[in-house]
Subunit: 224 residues, 2 copies
């Protein structure tokens, strides 16, 4: 079957129906997750959508984890790392963070699945390499690179989770007198509140990281 996979989308004899291969499997898996939720994701269900037997999937990839890595690659490809080569790290971090959240906003059900499975896809590692390399060029010491990457990503994943939350996430109905400050402060739609909270948090996080680096450089540079 590997010859079939290798002929995907190429050659004059290309059939009108796309030939089964890792790319098509990943795209259909993402469509399944988008349309039916992460809980619905299973290889039998995916095979049924593709009109093949479950065993056929194994001719093209290594099982469930490989499909999830394919889905991760598709979502990561929607994120923009170009800024890391062009802008100072705080601006690049802001730009990447927005494209990261936008990508998950288009695929909210993929979040839970991707946040808790091992990352090994080349596309994702390449993205992380772009982030930590830009941080290193910006002056961050080696032992802080993964912390900065991870804490920003934690904020991004937590913000993305907000996108799968119900329209009324905090319901003060019937309790407003007991929690007056909270009830009074909850205004606007949940989507508008989520956007404002994301802007507030991203700005605070990047500002705070800039402060940290300044403090660190002062500490690391011996007095003249």
């Amino acid at each position: 079957m590997s010859s079939t996979a290798a002929s995907d989308g190429a050659g004059p004899g290309r059939p009108r129906t796309p030939v089964l291969g890792a790319e098509l499997i990943a795209r259909e898996a993402l469509a399944l997750i988008d349309e039916e939720g992460a809980d619905a994701f299973s290889l039998p269900r995916l095979a049924a959508r593709l009109g093949v037997k479950t065993a056929s999937l194994y001719n093209h990839l290594d099982g469930r984890a490989a499909v999830i890595e394919g889905v991760r690659r598709l979502v990561v490809e929607e994120m923009d790392v170009a800024a890391f080569g062009a802008l100072p790290w705080p601006d690049a971090l802001r730009s990447w963070a927005r494209s990261y959240r936008d990508a998950f906003a288009r695929h909210p059900h993929a979040i839970e699945l991707l946040a808790t499975t091992t990352i090994s896809s080349p596309a994702t590692l390449t993205m992380y390499e772009a982030v930590v390399s830009a941080l290193a060029r910006g002056g961050w010491p080696r032992e802080r690179l993964v912390s900065v990457l991870t804490c920003v990503e934690s904020f991004l994943l937590g913000s993305a989770l907000d996108l799968v939350a119900p329209p009324i996430m905090i319901d003060t109905a019937g309790q407003a007198e007991r929690v007056p400050v909270l009830a009074d402060a909850l205004e606007g739609s949940k989507a508008a509140r989520a956007d404002r909270a994301f802007d507030c948090g991203l700005d605070a996080l990047v500002r705070g990281l800039e402060d940290q680096l300044t403090a660190l450089e002062r500490y690391l540079t011996p007095p003249q």
Copy 2:
């Protein structure tokens, strides 16, 4: 059955086996989630653990959402809001954030379930009221209170998700030459890295929020 529920844990005739009631149901639901994961949570499974029929649960509460709110209350009760009455808001936020993460570290599988269901339990609203009231006393304007609360909580939930991730979350095996900065920077156990990233992010976020408030106060205060 409501008389049975009302007699929970009270009265001289109390049996040695705890009587079914909302509190016992919530505790058993949390134990089920802790031991078997969020996906295993269902009312039939919960009823089986309690040795009762599923229908009996409905004598004590309103269904699945009510059980989840009971679970949320138990987790929230492990978080410490006392600091909001005693310390300046940045220190109180740090202290609360640590207790929040610690609570989810003890119940990692509860995260996905609680992060994406509507919050209406009085205990949780009371916690949020303590947070936003302290922020308001600290000088934050009303229209920023929910943003600050939400962005900190997004970071906390994202960090907590890290606690359910596999021991090797970023796997550069066989790809280290292609992503040298990342491979070199990944050191220590995942748990140690998660702790460092949490410290880094919490410090940055709170520093950044302090900067934001200072900038805001400067903007809001007319020049003398």
